[in-house]
Symmetry: C2
Subunit: 136 residues, 2 copies
Amino acid sequence: MSTADAPSAPVQRDTRQRRAVAGALAATEEFRSAQEIHALLRDSGDKVGLATVYRTLQAMADGGEVDVVRSEAGEARYRRCAVDHHHHHLICRVCGRAVEVEGPAFEQWASAVAREHGFADVTHTLELTGTCPDCA
Amino acid sequence: MSTADAPSAPVQRDTRQRRAVAGALAATEEFRSAQEIHALLRDSGDKVGLATVYRTLQAMADGGEVDVVRSEAGEARYRRCAVDHHHHHLICRVCGRAVEVEGPAFEQWASAVAREHGFADVTHTLELTGTCPDCA
DNA sequence: TTATCTGCAAACATTTTGCAGCGAG
DNA sequence: CTCGCTGCAAAATGTTTGCAGATAA
């Protein structure tokens, strides 16, 4: 056996582009689409190819570094995933603003339902979409 | 003013294609993608253009006749929205089996959260994914 | 050096749209 | 008869991929 027989850590190289994408994500709380990030970076002067943005975000999502949701328009939107405890978002369908929402009651309900049906290893995806006070 | 001054009811014509799409949706409980429905109809012998399927589903979604969710792959999936009381699905990630789940407690929690943040017209998408007893 | 990453552009999949003709009302 | 609906195919999105060259380790 070698010193490292765990192929599960495909460590990424530390490149300017990767840092730029990570930086753009770190700069905000909100969900951003790949194209938004690409535009944002170009704006900041960091030139990163669109494909690279996509590849980087995908890699980050695989590594669990970012959360991904699908907008109603069908685009993937990414956000840095710093929080340990699970929470969800209430998203305004007009301005896209996202409010973080905690739901202990909901979490409990979900586990209860899963257990009741004998399902194991249950995860959930929850999105609340509405019109926020400012956009009403 | 005319006898009907409510422009909010752009009544759709009753066509063979529209009926076919509605039929395909009525035939199942599950969410279907536009392309699946198109294939399904072709299979049944009803020939409906793909564009028409898209247009029809979109119209139905606008009219609130169907629910729409986005799959993780980014496609839109439609389901007839006949049920008065809202319910969700607990889906097995191995065999794909879906169990219907009711969640009055969850519904209440969702409305409460929405109200608390001043959001109006809030809808939610909830998916529970796990491994069912048979596939464990 | 060498394997990975990047950029570009072409390939892809899904959904939308323009236009001529069909068909419901 | 009229106007909306349909079908086809082309266009528009959003995302992925092949390849040659750049670059981190």
